[in-house]
């Protein structure tokens, strides 16, 4: 008797699984991504938006960004809902990608290859060349040419140089024959400062120093040391382990990653090495920094790091802390400037999208002054359109009170280096060689001299393969 029962159960469950698995499909049709249901053809890859359905209903577009926290997800979800109502004939679905730690771009490459990537997605500026030369993103030059009122000069020059770069002709700007996407926003580094810690340490207020033009590497070191002295668990300075934070120190001393024309490694120039050496001393000699490789953000938000170097994108997360905080520009290096970056990322169009026109319309809608204003207001980055109006509005999006610090960073007088891809080489490969080597220096296992002696031999392999 018992045996029979067991078998019946097994049978039942198996049948059930058969039935059930099929049953979900109608639920999917009710869900917003209705058109994800596959076409009725034998071609298995055609899983998105079958033509038969598209003609009768709205065109469904999926778009994606990389949010770093829940606050940003909320911002973009809201934008998506608003644009959905605003754009005729287009139904939008916003999907948040993984955060920096979970390899957003890599996953995206895999999905473009697999045909499951969204129609429009955001990628960091450094990856534009790689995506473009691999044929993963659409060249929207023709669509842009047919669009009234579109001109590349509406946006910051740094990002648009790369976004309109034509790898075949080497031309750039309007009429170069290439438009790879439009910049979502720009950002730059600032130091998020814990005012309570600095006051407790009795150190000078960096904002005042900056206002008096005294905010240089020496002053920075003094504040760091004063706050570090508060306790073994309190650090003066913290930065994440990627190219942005360490690049600043190289830029500020007059060096940089690449030569002027971005065709060769410049990491071994005397200036670059001097900048790197100062940064190394923060970690090794003065021991004021959160150990390189440990994420300083939790520490900062827990009130244990006095100065935390990050972009505007960290603001929504920092807004939740319960101590007094503000931002200040990066300290000026021996070269006179802070060596800041002009970070940007762009909305690009999936090369395999079935609706290029609608996707281009979406890219434009996502980069209007209005949308960018909303994103900026809700806390994320700085508008990528060049407009005094947008900048004035940006200043009102507090906290932090000292929003001007960000604008000072992208001001032409601060000479920020625009983040950019390597059209003459492979940025990911360059990064994979440079990152670990610099980490070796900052953690004290390689000397700056040894680094300088060999780095460019290795890194130059990323060019012109």
């Amino acid at each position: 008797m018992k045996k029979n029962l067991l078998l019946k159960i097994m049978g039942l469950v198996i049948i059930a699984s058969f039935v059930l698995t099929a049953c979900g499909s109608p639920a999917a049709t009710e869900a917003p991504e209705a058109t994800e249901a596959p076409a009725m053809t034998e071609a298995p890859a055609a899983t998105e938006a079958p033509a038969t359905e598209a003609s009768s209903a709205d065109v469904a577009l999926r778009w994606r960004t990389r949010p770093d926290n829940q606050e940003e997800i909320d911002v973009y979800s809201k934008i998506s809902t608003e644009l959905d109502a605003q754009l005729d004939g287009i139904t939008l679905t916003y999907e948040p990608g993984g955060s920096e730690g979970s390899n957003y771009q890599d996953q995206l490459r895999a999905e473009v290859a697999a045909g499951t990537a969204p129609d429009v997605f955001w990628i960091p500026g450094t990856d534009v060349a790689d995506f473009a030369t691999r044929g993963l993103i659409l060249n929207a030059a023709d669509l842009a040419a047919a669009t009234d009122g579109y001109t590349a000069t509406d946006f910051y020059e740094g990002p648009m140089y790369h976004l309109t770069y034509n790898p075949e002709t080497g031309a750039s700007g309007d009429g170069s024959g290439a438009v790879w996407g439009l910049p979502r926003d720009v950002s730059t580094f600032a130091l998020y400062i814990n005012l309570d810690l600095i006051a407790e340490a009795g150190a000078a207020d960096p904002r005042e120093l900056a206002a008096n033009g005294e905010w240089d590497w020496e002053a920075f070191l003094e504040v760091s040391q004063a706050t570090r002295a508060l306790g073994s668990d309190i650090y003066g300075y913290g930065a994440s382990a990627w190219w942005g934070p360490y690049g600043v120190w190289l830029n500020a001393s007059g060096g940089g990653f690449f030569t002027e024309d971005r065709t060769a490694c410049n990491l071994n120039s005397a200036e670059s090495l001097a900048g790197l050496d100062f940064q190394r001393s923060l970690y090794q000699d003065y021991d004021v920094a959160v150990p390189y490789g440990e994420d300083p953000e939790p520490g900062f938000r827990a009130g244990k790091v006095a100065m935390f170097q990050n972009g505007r994108w960290a603001t929504p997360g920092v807004r939740t802390v319960d101590f007094n905080w503000d931002v200040v520009e990066l300290p000026a290096g021996p070269n006179g400037t802070a060596g800041n970056w002009l970070f940007w990322g762009a909305y690009v169009i999936n090369a395999n999208t079935e609706h290029p026109e609608e996707a281009w319309a979406l890219v434009q809608a996502l980069t209007t002054a209005e949308t960018q204003g909303k994103v900026a207001a809700l806390g994320a980055n700085i508008p990528s359109r060049v407009s005094q109006e947008a900048l004035d509005a940006f200043l009102t999006f507090t906290p932090p009170a000292n929003n001007q610090a960000f604008l000072n960073g992208i001001d032409p007088s601060a000479a920020p280096t625009a983040e950019g891809p390597l059209w003459a080489g492979s940025w990911p490969q360059f990064d994979q060689i440079m990152g670990p080597a610099i980490q070796g220096v900052l953690t004290g296992s390689t000397t700056v001299d040894d680094f300088g002696a060999t780095i460019c031999d290795e890194a130059n392999k990323a060019f012109n393969q």
Partner: protein, 407 residues
């Protein structure tokens, strides 16, 4: 006498055995305790040093004359530790000393100290070659010009029972807050509802259940064919199966990915289920088990006219429940815990199809400042298999031991 010392030796011996065992048990269990306790903490509690095991909440109290409840701290009043309420923080305090006697320092609130000679043209002295500003500091009713040696900030604490009494000033960051043990199960709610762990849990359950059932069915049939039925080619196929058991999964990750692309299963739960239903190892284990089953019973049933399927269904499977359960548990763990394949095949943005391990990978990046949430997520992934294990502990461990010896 001899007996006594023997007993002593045995006692010491046993004591030593238990000491070693308990020591290792502590090491084995500690991360789990840590995970569970942290998952019930509030974020600020997770960053405390020295770390503490039990989750705690700071206590606040309503004090007369203040609108908001005030946080309580331990404060040292005349050598007695008392619970005082923090009224104000970030009060700047300077340490001042006369120029000629740097050792005679006094502490004053910076707001109460006036620059010597007024704000506009403050007097300065040269100390060690540097110009230093002078301040008028009152000492015992006399105004003495002094220099600022160092400065810091303090908080103002008052007795909550007697708000009018003398306040105490001390460093807030280093003051120990008054806390009581407080559990925050709402962390789980937050992580399940806001961070997609709920959907991931459902998906993981679904995938695991289907993989376990599917794999049992195919391995039982395959194992039976290998063990009991004679047909040409059987031994060749079996040797082929055996040969592939050692091949690690990562060998397949690239081609299997391209296969999934080809048939359009990328980003689909089907890709986490269907390929895992057919395993050489499971079939091998089933075959090893069925081969020990007495042949006579089966032959008798055959003579009675029973079909092979009926024999399998009515005689062999009911007698093989322990072996089936062994395999089911192995498969369960494998399917529940797998990471690299979902990472490759499921879209990061498509959170609807995330399994727990993937959701944790995303959570790790998004909630790096709230370890309590991350570890609540980890607990959701770890605890269900542990419960299964604790329920069927004896059986489980023995079946693993059995499979190991056989393998």
């Amino acid at each position: 006498m001899n007996m006594k010392s023997y007993r002593l030796v045995r006692f010491l011996n046993n004591f030593f055995v238990y000491f070693i065992l308990t020591f290792f048990a502590f090491i084995m269990l500690f991360p789990f305790f840590y995970m569970l306790s942290t998952s019930f903490k509030i974020p600020s509690d997770t960053f405390r040093y020295p770390p503490r095991m039990l989750p705690r909440d700071p206590i606040t109290m309503q004090v007369d004359g203040y609108d908001e409840p005030l946080p309580l701290y331990f404060v040292d009043v005349d050598g007695v530790q008392k619970e005082y309420a923090l009224v104000r923080s970030n009060i700047k305090v300077g340490t001042y000393a006369p120029v000629d006697n740097p050792a005679a320092v006094v502490d004053r609130f910076i707001s109460e100290v006036k620059p010597t000679g007024g704000v506009m043209n403050q007097q300065k002295v040269v100390v060690n070659g540097e110009e230093v500003k002078l301040f008028d500091v009152e000492v015992d009713g006399q105004v003495v010009p002094m220099i600022l040696v160092s400065q810091t900030t303090v908080g103002e604490f008052i007795d909550p029972q007697d708000p009018e009494s003398e306040p105490v000033f001390q460093n807030v960051r280093l003051s120990e807050p008054v806390e009581n043990v407080g559990w925050h199960p709402e962390n789980y709610k937050e992580v399940i509802e806001l961070n997609n762990l709920g959907r991931a849990l459902t998906n993981t359950t679904l995938v695991t259940v289907l993989v376990v059932m599917g794999q049992l069915v195919t391995s039982v049939f395959g194992g039976y064919a290998f063990a009991r039925l004679k047909f040409p080619g059987r031994d060749t196929v079996f040797v082929f199966y055996l040969g592939t058991i050692m091949i690690p999964f990562v060998m397949l990750i690239v081609p299997l990915y391209q296969l999934m692309v080809l048939i359009g299963w990328t980003d689909r739960l089907a890709s986490l289920i269907i390929p895992w239903i057919f395993t050489a190892y499971g079939t091998f284990l089933m075959r090893q088990h069925f081969i020990t089953f007495p042949k006579e019973i089966e032959e008798a049933a055959l003579l009675d006219g029973a079909s092979r399927f009926a024999i399998l269904k009515d005689i062999i499977i009911p007698a093989s429940i322990p072996a089936l359960a062994t395999q089911a548990t192995f498969t369960f763990l494998y399917a529940w815990n797998s990471f690299i394949w979902p990472l490759v095949i499921i879209n990061v943005g498509n959170e609807k199809n995330h399994v727990l391990t993937l959701a944790l990978n995303v959570l790790r990046g998004r909630a790096s400042d709230t370890p309590n949430l991350i570890l609540a997520g980890a607990a959701i992934a770890i605890v269900p298999p542990l419960i299964v294990f604790i329920l069927g502990q004896r059986f489980f461990v023995e079946s693993v031991a059995g499979s190991g010896v056989k393998g």
